[in-house]
């Protein structure tokens, strides 16, 4: 799937040699970040990981605001893993905002959470999340997710 216009992408690749295809991980817990990184590595995912640690930062990153204005260093992600229990802005808030942004609507989001509640899964589905992953993430889960989304490394 292509998220940026072809000409823009080639220009960026050409000029800055930065891979636009990053995975954005929105997670406030350091341990969970570690385990996510480990699972991605074990699953052989080579895309670089951008990490933001609260809901507001996630909105800033996606909107290119504040510290994240530089799209070269902070490109629009290819895929997002979104925790629900976040400081400042809840994961559902980020999802809702994302749906309202035409340029960002196509980013696949996998909700990554410790909540096994059916009602949370339901809500995530309603808000457009592509998958719902109950922690802790394992290699198998990442592999399945990648297959499901048709992501190429």
């Amino acid at each position: 799937m292509v998220y940026l216009a072809g000409s823009l992408r080639s220009r960026l690749t050409h000029t800055f040699m930065v891979c636009q295809r990053v995975i954005l991980l929105v997670e406030d817990n350091e341990d969970d970040v570690f385990f996510m990184q480990r699972a991605l590595q074990k699953a052989g995912v080579e895309l670089p990981l951008q990490i933001v640690m609260d809901g507001q930062q996630a909105l800033d990153y996606l909107g290119g605001k504040e510290a994240y204005g530089d799209r070269n260093r902070f490109p629009i992600p290819r895929l997002m893993f979104l925790d629900l229990k976040l400081p400042y802005v809840h994961g559902f808030g980020v999802l809702t905002w994302l749906r309202s942004q035409t340029s960002l609507q196509n980013i696949p989001v996998i909700v990554l959470t410790s909540s096994p509640e059916e009602r949370d899964r339901q809500k995530a589905h309603e808000l457009g999340a592509k998958a719902y992953l109950v922690k802790p993430p394992t290699r198998e889960m990442i592999e399945e997710a990648m297959q499901f989304l048709g992501c190429k490394e």
Binding site: N29, D31, D32, F35, R38, K85, S114, P136
Partner: protein
């Protein structure tokens, strides 16, 4: 001895003239002293019944009996007067009683549309009425919103001949509301006349209102507390499970990444870390489940037990291996309950049944249901396990009332309390039949779905 009847008794030789005969025949009376017993109750023959020219056996004598100081009255008049005095006394008593009780009385004539009110009624209705005023004026004394209701109640009573009672309001001069209880009944029956009473019930009405307000405040507080408890337990469990997960996963990752390089003792200790953190995680999860079962708001609806069991068998991978051990006698009855609670109950009972078997024995669990009484269903979960000793009968439903050591049979001691609480919240009962070494049959009774056909 002969008792004399009440009255004046004249002493005449050989003759006693009975009293009460107002038209006594003319008699001959000797001149004698008249001995009369004087009392207010005495009736005396009227003067004109005495003959001036009385004759007696001893010769003619003239006897003139003048009415003495005792008043002259006839018997009927006396009775009438007596009745009047009694009535006066009764009226006074009633009036005093009514005044003390604050009860006003009224007398309504539907034919003439006029009404007579007692003083208390006048002050209750808050009007200075002249006597003989109109029915409509009385109605106008009530609160405008209540007038029609009062009118309807009075007219209904008149039509049916039954008494009526209605609570209505009056606006006092200083603008406050006064509540009255108005009662009345046609009297005589089937006539156009109604007698009734009215009483001030403002204090009672106020007290009721205050009480109702307090009840609704408390209910709101309770609902709030329940909601807070729910979110509290939700976040507690989440916040507790997060570090537990970390502990477990770090140990797991160490074993995975460094296992081959580690000494067996190191491996063993890491595995113990995993085990302890997993155990605490299960405990937290069970406590959360218990808290949910105790506090969450639920609606009770008809549930098909067959479906619930199908879901359980499908969604619990750990039961995969035991599917052939579980036999369900279909079709199971429908019950009135809550699906999540029932799922929790049956899951716990089934997993207990599969767990508590003698070593080396293949568990066998049977689930069936039957009608109990006219509108209840009894569900049985029976096993071939180790049974329960009589001395433990009252422990097993208690929180952490586990009987066995962890080594023998794993468990948190929360499973059965959850089942009991859930059944209770669905207005049911739970119990069991067991013999040590010979299996256990758990049963629970829930309201059933009424057969409409």
């Amino acid at each position: 001895m002969r008792y004399l009847p009440q009255g004046i008794h004249f002493h005449f030789p050989g003759r006693i003239i009975p009293h009460g005969k107002s038209s006594a025949p003319r008699q001959h009376f000797p001149r004698r002293e008249v001995i009369a017993s004087r009392s207010m109750e005495t009736s005396v023959l009227p003067a004109e019944s005495y003959s001036e020219n009385a004759r007696s056996d001893e010769g003619l004598r003239t006897v003139k009996i003048l009415p003495q100081k005792a008043p002259s009255f006839d018997f009927e008049a006396t009775q009438r007067k007596r009745a009047q005095l009694l009535l006066h006394e009764l009226r006074a008593k009633l009036s005093i009683a009514a005044n003390i009780a604050g009860i006003g009385m009224w007398d309504l004539n539907f034919a003439t549309k006029s009404v007579v009110l007692s003083d208390t009624s006048k002050s209750l209705l808050n009007r200075e009425f002249l006597d003989g005023f109109q029915y409509q004026q009385m109605l106008d004394a009530f609160h405008p919103e209540d007038r029609d209701a009062v009118k309807a109640a009075l007219e209904r009573a008149l039509a049916t001949g039954e008494s009526c009672r209605i609570e209505c309001r009056v606006i006092t001069p200083d603008g406050n509301l006064r509540w009255l209880a108005l009662t009345g009944r046609p009297f005589p029956p089937r006539s156009l006349r109604m007698l009734g009473a009215m009483q001030d019930i403002t204090a009672r009405k106020c007290a009721t209102e205050i009480l109702e307000q307090r009840v609704s405040e408390r209910t709101m507080e309770l609902a709030q507390t329940v909601a807070e408890l729910e979110s509290f337990s939700y976040s507690i469990s989440h916040d507790m499970r997060s570090p537990l997960r970390a502990m477990y996963c770090y140990a797991a990752s160490l074993l995975e990444d460094y296992g081959p390089k580690l000494a067996p003792e190191a491996v063993f200790r890491l595995e113990r870390i995993q085990r302890a953190s997993r155990r605490l995680d299960v405990l937290v999860r069970d406590l959360l489940a218990y808290s949910k079962v105790s506090n969450s708001e639920i609606q009770l609806t008809p549930i098909a037990l067959d479906e619930v069991l199908e879901d359980i068998l499908q969604n619990h991978p750990e039961l995969e291996n035991f599917r052939d051990c579980i036999s369900i006698q279909k079709p199971l009855h429908m019950v009135i309950g809550h699906k999540a609670f029932l799922t929790q109950c049956l899951t716990n009972l089934i997993s207990n049944a599969l767990k508590f078997v003698a070593p080396g024995t293949r568990p066998a669990v049977r689930i069936q249901s039957e009608q109990a009484g006219t509108s209840s269903v009894k569900v049985w979960v029976s096993d071939n396990g180790i049974g329960i000793q009589p001395e433990h009968y009252d422990r097993i439903f208690r929180m952490f009332g586990r009987v066995h050591a962890d080594k023998q049979y794993d468990g948190t001691g929360i499973g059965l309390p959850i089942v009991k609480k859930a059944i209770q919240r669905m207005n049911g009962e739970i119990g069991f039949v067991s013999e040590a070494g010979n299996g256990t049959e758990f049963w629970f009774i829930l309201p059933g779905v009424c057969d409409r056909d």
